[in-house]
């Protein structure tokens, strides 16, 4: 089970839970199941089957951007964070 | 010498880096514009066009000037040295070598102005203190280096030039 960390402002959809456990071999699978388990949440993270523009996924500390095919380990930790630019 | 011709342009005769040069210019054109756009000497840069950054520095009749603030017609009869004339066929000027070795440039757009200005300083004062270098170069803005390595490069070059003299 991958652990998905839910950004504070979106915890309404998870009944306040800061972390949820979701089965999935890729980021895409987790995201699809997230929406199924917590209606409304997926739509804030994903748009038209893509991670919303301007968000990045972090898998086990690695910034994998919007690459939904990224593989997950059974114990993977997943974050969704706003993408950053630089100077 | 400057003579007005029919188009409203002015014929100017001058000396640049030791070579006699003729050009036609509109009276409103600055020396910087003529150097860069008419004569292809693009080493002098435009950073502000009003005398605040030194990127356009050239030496005119022995005086360090901001070429953006000199009208091109004022160059008539003058002798002008630009960055293109600093190195010789034998090699780089000690200041240029010192800038390279001291990593005294980042983006490099201010560098021609600094080298022209520093050369004018060392011609006047071959043994400047760090304060004198900073004071003299206060008319040249560099946004990349924080000046540290530029000042060191100038002091380093001064030392080499004194040793060679």
């Amino acid at each position: 089970m991958a652990t998905v960390h839910i950004p504070t402002p979106m915890r309404e959809a998870t009944d306040g839970a800061a972390r949820v456990e979701i089965e999935g071999a890729t980021v895409r699978e987790v995201v699809e199941r997230l929406e199924a388990s917590f209606p409304g949440l997926g739509g804030r993270l994903v748009e038209d089957g893509q991670i919303r523009p301007g968000l990045s996924a972090f898998v086990d500390g690695a910034n994998v951007g919007r690459r939904l095919r990224t593989k997950l380990q059974p114990e993977s930790e997943l974050f969704f964070v706003e993408a950053l630019g630089g100077g | 010498m400057a003579t007005e011709i029919q188009s409203g342009k002015v014929h100017v005769q001058t000396t640049i880096n030791g070579e006699s040069v003729d050009f036609l210019a509109e009276p409103r054109e600055s020396l910087l514009e003529v150097l860069r756009d008419n004569l292809g000497l693009t080493g002098a840069k435009e950073g502000c066009n009003n005398g605040n950054c030194g990127a356009c520095n050239v030496v005119m009749d022995g005086v360090l000037v901001n070429s953006c603030c000199v009208l091109s017609v004022e160059a008539a009869g003058a002798s002008i040295e630009t960055i293109e004339g600093v190195a010789s066929p034998e090699g780089l000027h000690p200041l240029q070598q010192s800038f390279l070795e001291n990593a005294a440039l980042q983006c490099g757009v201010c560098t021609p102005g600094f080298i022209v200005a520093a050369k004018a300083l060392l011609e006047e004062n071959p043994n400047p203190t760090e304060y004198e270098v900073r004071w003299w170069l206060a008319g040249n803005l560099c946004r990349c280096t924080g000046y540290d390595k530029i000042v060191r490069a100038v002091l380093d070059a001064a030392e080499r030039m004194r040793a060679e003299a």
Binding site: T8, L45, G87 | L137, C144, G146, R152
Partner: protein
């Protein structure tokens, strides 16, 4: 023994020994830059070229009633005049790749040439192409624009009021929970980041310090002004020469804005005279392209300095509140921050990054940070070196200093005790990987400056301040293609514009990996047709990411050489070893140069290539120490001594790491003491020149002592961390803390200009 003062100190926390990495070769492009031969964007002149100029709004906020260009068109020498009508309708499209993907394209398009409404003083209205720049400038005066002038809103705190004039009538706040506001306002976005339980954390605190700070707008101040030359051929091919931080970004923006196929757009990166985040987006390129399409001639455009200051992308002004709770023994229990940044005339400030940096140097068990992106009648703001972090950490590092004073705890000890370290939680992010804040703080503590008591002078107010800084660094995508020449030298094409010696730092990583000398690598910044996708030179990413691509490309080349030699020597490829640039197997051996010669005879010419999007940037920390003297009569602050300490991971090219540190410090000192956009009540920018927008000169600063700390980044084969941005973060706080040490006065606005310091001193007295 004489100390070589050119070399700063380096403190290593690793045992790696390298042959090329860490040395100080002369940079490959140095010669052209000291002789004036290097070609920057404005140095190019094409046959038949016309010159373009832009008409700009004299008002900060106005409706455009009508534009009459006929007078300009009639002027002798004028070849074309365009307004926003020349741009395709952006509809609801979003921007593509690049720095900030996913923003509405209509905003970017309207920032190129105003569409119906003016959002700031200097907003582009129309553009002219003419035979020479003087005629183009005259033509601008003949364009007749009728405006209906509106009340401007200049500061975030005014723009956020419920009765503020709404600048963009259909802007609905994007809320932190992913929903959208029902009513239009100037707040483009709200954000919220939280960890732990702040209320409980503050309840545990013995001392809570809660302070507010405000900021003026500052500009990146690169010395080269923006320029672009475009040639639109009749078959639709568009060639563009520009000085941008990212040729591929410009290509993407042109494709988006002009609705033109990306394959037909070719962008040539010229040398660039500084950027610092301000040259990550197009301003002139689309205008030059449209004017060229209309006239059939190449069109060259260049801004003057007033244009640059008025109408490019300075970094935001705004507001930051920081509240910190600590126990009496100096442990942080909770933090709260609230940041409102001005986006300028269109949405999209750097406030999100600021929110996430505000407490970054510390292990924060409980923290909450709110952010607001606010539209005001000023130029659309952009990144400036560690975007958002300087504002945020000026506030938090000043509050930390106040706490140390109040509790009488040494500021180094406090920071060491509370420092973030590997495994600690970051706000709304995965836990920290290996980071070097503690190592930097220890190096600062042990530095010559910290160990030398501040020299007092009778009648002089002198003080010392210290501050930390953090910036994330960015990965993005980079590409390298390297060709092995028959003499064993390598021509290396890379896509990153070189703003400060990165050709060499990339080449050094290639040379190290292949085992050749850096002089045998010839690095070239290639155009968008000649090298793979490469994102902007920004986010401190070039030496990290493009360097990684060079490392990978060298390994690719190595594999091809091995394959060729295996064939030639009739051995198994895996029996060939490679050490110190020599390939050996079974009694055969060849250096890279010899191998190149052998392979040439076989018709084999290895080309190593790589495109990489690294995922572990590894954040960067810095600690700075400032000694200042404050003139109580004039309020002028002088920097007496300055030391910058920074974790570079592994410094590939140390003189240019030091250069980044020193340059960042001096920009930070300018921001701290002088630099600020000055507006009148009607929103006119009053100081759009380098005389009045005063940046530090050589006379305003001392030498900047540097200490490079090397805590390798586990996310890079050579341990590289980006170094370009974080050095601008600590200076304002270090200076403010030093001013307090000297005078007892706490400054709460940047810049701490003489007038402000004088007023604060007077108020205290």
């Amino acid at each position: 023994m004489a100390v070589d003062t050119r070399v700063g100190q380096t403190i290593k926390h690793h045992d790696e020994e390298y042959k090329v990495i860490g040395t100080r070769p002369i940079r490959h492009d140095g010669l052209e830059k000291v002789t004036g031969e290097a070609r920057y964007g404005s140095d190019i002149n094409l046959p038949g070229q016309l010159h373009g100029k832009v008409l700009r709004s004299p008002h900060a906020h106005a409706r455009i009633v009508s534009i009459d260009t006929s007078g300009a068109e009639a002027l002798d020498g004028v070849r074309a005049v365009i307004t926003s009508a020349a741009f395709p309708d952006p509809g609801d499209k979003l921007t593509g790749g690049g720095e900030a993907p996913g923003l509405p394209l209509k905003f970017k398009s309207a920032n190129m040439l105003a569409r119906g409404k003016v959002h700031y003083h200097g907003h582009a209205i129309a553009a002219v192409a003419a035979a020479n720049p003087h005629v183009a400038a005259e033509a601008l005066k003949l364009i007749d624009v009728e405006y209906e002038v509106l009340d401007p809103v200049l500061e975030v705190w005014d723009a956020m009021k419920p009765d503020a004039p709404v600048i963009i009538e259909d802007l609905y706040t994007a809320k932190a929970d992913g929903t959208t506001a029902e009513e239009a306002s100037n707040v483009a976005a709200e954000m919220l980041y939280e960890v732990g339980d702040v209320d409980a954390g503050f309840a545990e605190a013995d001392l809570v310090v809660d302070r507010e700070f405000t900021f003026g707008v500052v500009h990146q101040g690169y010395i080269e002004t923006h320029n672009a030359t475009a040639h639109w051929l009749k078959d639709g091919h568009l060639h563009v020469w520009c000085s941008s931080q990212g040729a591929f970004t410009i290509r993407q923006e042109l494709a988006d804005l002009l609705d033109h196929p990306i394959t037909k757009i070719h962008v040539v990166p010229m040398e660039i005279g500084g950027g610092f985040g301000g040259k990550t987006t197009a301003y002139l390129e689309p205008l030059a392209a449209l004017l060229s399409r209309q006239t059939g001639h190449p069109v060259k455009m260049a801004m003057d300095r007033a244009d640059v200051l008025k109408a490019t992308g300075p970094t935001p002004g705004g507001y930051v509140r920081v509240k910190l709770g600590v126990t009496n023994d100096g442990m942080i229990t909770a933090g709260y921050a609230n940041l409102a940044f001005d986006a300028g005339g269109y949405p999209g400030s750097v406030v999100g990054a600021g929110c996430r940096c505000v407490f970054a140097p510390y292990n924060m068990p409980n923290a909450k940070v709110e952010g607001f992106d606010v539209v005001v009648n000023k130029p659309k703001t952009h990144a400036y070196r560690a975007p958002g972090a300087t504002h945020a950490e000026f506030a938090s590092e000043t509050v930390v200093d106040e706490i140390c004073r109040t509790l009488d705890i040494d500021p180094v000890e406090f920071r060491l005790k509370n420092s973030a370290k590997e495994g600690d939680w970051q706000l709304a992010m995965p836990p920290y990987p290996r980071i070097g804040h503690i190592e930097c703080m220890e190096a600062a503590r042990d530095s010559a400056q910290w160990q030398t008591p501040l020299e007092t002078a009778p009648g002089k107010k002198r003080g010392r301040g210290i501050a930390s800084g953090f910036w994330f660094n960015i990965g993005f995508t980079s590409s390298v293609t390297a060709k092995l020449n028959s003499d064993g030298s390598v021509t290396l094409l890379e896509g990153s514009t070189d703003i400060g010696g990165t050709r060499t730092s990339i080449a050094m990583q290639f040379a190290e990996t292949l085992g050749i000398s850096v002089e045998d690598v010839d690095p070239i910044v290639a155009d968008t047709d000649s090298v793979g996708q490469t994102d902007v030179t920004g986010g401190s990413r070039v030496t990290f990411a493009t360097g990684l691509a060079a490392h990978n490309a060298a390994n690719d080349m190595k594999d091809q050489i091995v394959e060729g030699l295996a064939d030639l020597w009739d051995v198994a490829a895996d029996s060939i070893t490679h050490a110190d640039g020599t390939f050996s197997a079974n009694g055969n051996s060849a250096t890279v140069g010899e191998a190149a010669g052998l392979l040439e005879e076989e018709g084999v010419f290895p080309i190593g290539k790589n495109t990489v999007t690294p995922t572990r940037e590894g954040g960067a920390f810095a600690v700075h120490i400032a000694d200042v003297e404050v003139d109580d009569e004039t309020g002028k602050v002088e920097v007496l001594r300055y030391t910058a300490v920074q974790d570079a991971g592994v410094a590939i090219y140390p003189p240019y790491v030091e250069g980044q540190m020193q340059g960042g410090v001096v920009q930070g000192v300018g921001w701290a003491l002088n630099e600020e956009y000055v507006y009148d009540d009607d929103g006119h920018l009053l100081n759009a020149s380098l005389l009045d927008y005063r940046m530090p000169t050589a006379l305003d600063v001392p030498n900047i002592e540097t200490i490079i700390v090397e805590v390798p980044n586990p996310g890079h084969p050579y341990g590289v961390r980006g170094v370009g941005e974080v050095p601008i973060v600590p200076p304002p706080a270090a200076m403010a803390n030093a001013i307090h040490d000297a005078t007892g006065v706490r400054m709460s606005h940047l810049p701490m200009s003489p007038a402000r310091v004088q007023a604060a001193l007077a108020a205290e007295a």
